[in-house]
């Protein structure tokens, strides 16, 4: 066999390796996309927070005439909520008769409405509650950005 022909057979091994690598990448991508989809529980998180707030605000008296900081403090204390988690991973907006009383966390109502356009926006839950003492309507908007985190340990 001449030297040119013998060189060709080794070049084919290079192509073989290239094709095998492409095949392996394809298998890995398919397996990862199937097994690592994960769960999106943001809607459930925001519904849970909303339900807790609905119960809390109807059962406890919160003075919505005080300052934002005082309202925030009352809500966190009486509803037993962790401020850090809400600020970092959730959204909480409370409006009294269309007047914004508190807003904690990232985002706003617009972000909630655009969640179908961009999955990075929070998934939200909106509810209205009628206060017994003054018959005013309270709008509770809760949202969640939270996703599970993988850590070493």
């Amino acid at each position: 066999m001449n030297k040119k022909a013998s060189a060709d057979s080794w070049i084919m091994i290079g192509w073989f390796i290239f094709l095998v690598i492409i095949m392996c990448i394809g298998i890995v991508v398919q397996v990862e996309s199937f097994f690592d989809i994960g769960f999106d529980t943001r809607q459930i998180d925001s519904a849970t927070l909303n339900a807790i707030l609905q119960n809390c605000l109807t059962e406890n008296e919160i003075n919505f005439e005080s300052s934002r900081e005082q309202i925030t403090e009352q809500i966190f204390e009486k509803c037993s909520l962790n401020k850090e988690v809400i600020e970092n991973s959730m959204l909480l907006i409370i409006n009294l008769e269309n007047e914004n009383k508190i807003k904690i966390g990232r985002g706003d109502e617009t972000a909630c409405a655009l969640v179908n356009k961009n999955n990075d926006y929070p998934k939200c839950e909106i509810s209205k509650v009628k206060l017994i003492e003054n018959k005013k309507i309270l709008t509770i908007i809760t949202g969640s950005y939270q996703d599970s985190q993988q850590k070493i340990g």
């Binding site: 397996v31 994960g38 769960f39 037993s80 988690v85």
Partner: protein, 136 residues
């Protein structure tokens, strides 16, 4: 044997060795995805977080964790106490079903979670107690 024959045999041998190496590698990778440890860890951490968010101080919750313990055993997690951990200062629950990796999720209820440990079944169950936060 003439040189042509040797060349053909060598080439095919190289192909065969490469194929065996790649096949072994892919089998090893697919085997690592067995038991869906990461998906189950995510499921357990999020379910526990939902339970804790709705709970009140004084509640005692018993939760079926049989599947989690099976997977942790297969993945050689060294002890049952490592599978579920509760970081109360950071309001975080972590589930470890693989060696060296855990999945964590935060809960917004301002309570502490005390683990009472995993009771062997079947089914194996985890019992947790909800208490007021330590600084109260």
């Amino acid at each position: 044997m003439n040189k042509k024959a040797i060349s053909i045999v060598m080439t095919n041998l190289v192909y065969l060795i490469l194929l065996v190496i790649v096949t072994m590698g892919m089998l090893f990778y697919i085997q690592s995805k067995q038991n869906n440890a990461s998906i189950w860890a995510e499921y357990y951490v999020e379910e526990l977080s939902k339970l804790v968010n709705f709970a009140k101080p004084g509640d005692i919750i018993t939760f079926d964790v049989h599947k989690a313990t099976e997977i942790a055993y297969k993945k050689q997690v060294s002890s049952r106490s490592e599978i579920f951990s509760f970081d109360n200062p950071n309001n975080e629950i972590c589930v470890k079903l693989s060696v060296g990796r855990k999945t964590c999720y935060s809960y917004f209820n301002n309570v502490d979670v005390i683990s009472k440990g995993i009771a062997l079944g079947p089914p194996n169950t985890l019992t947790i107690e909800i208490t007021k936060t330590q600084d109260e």
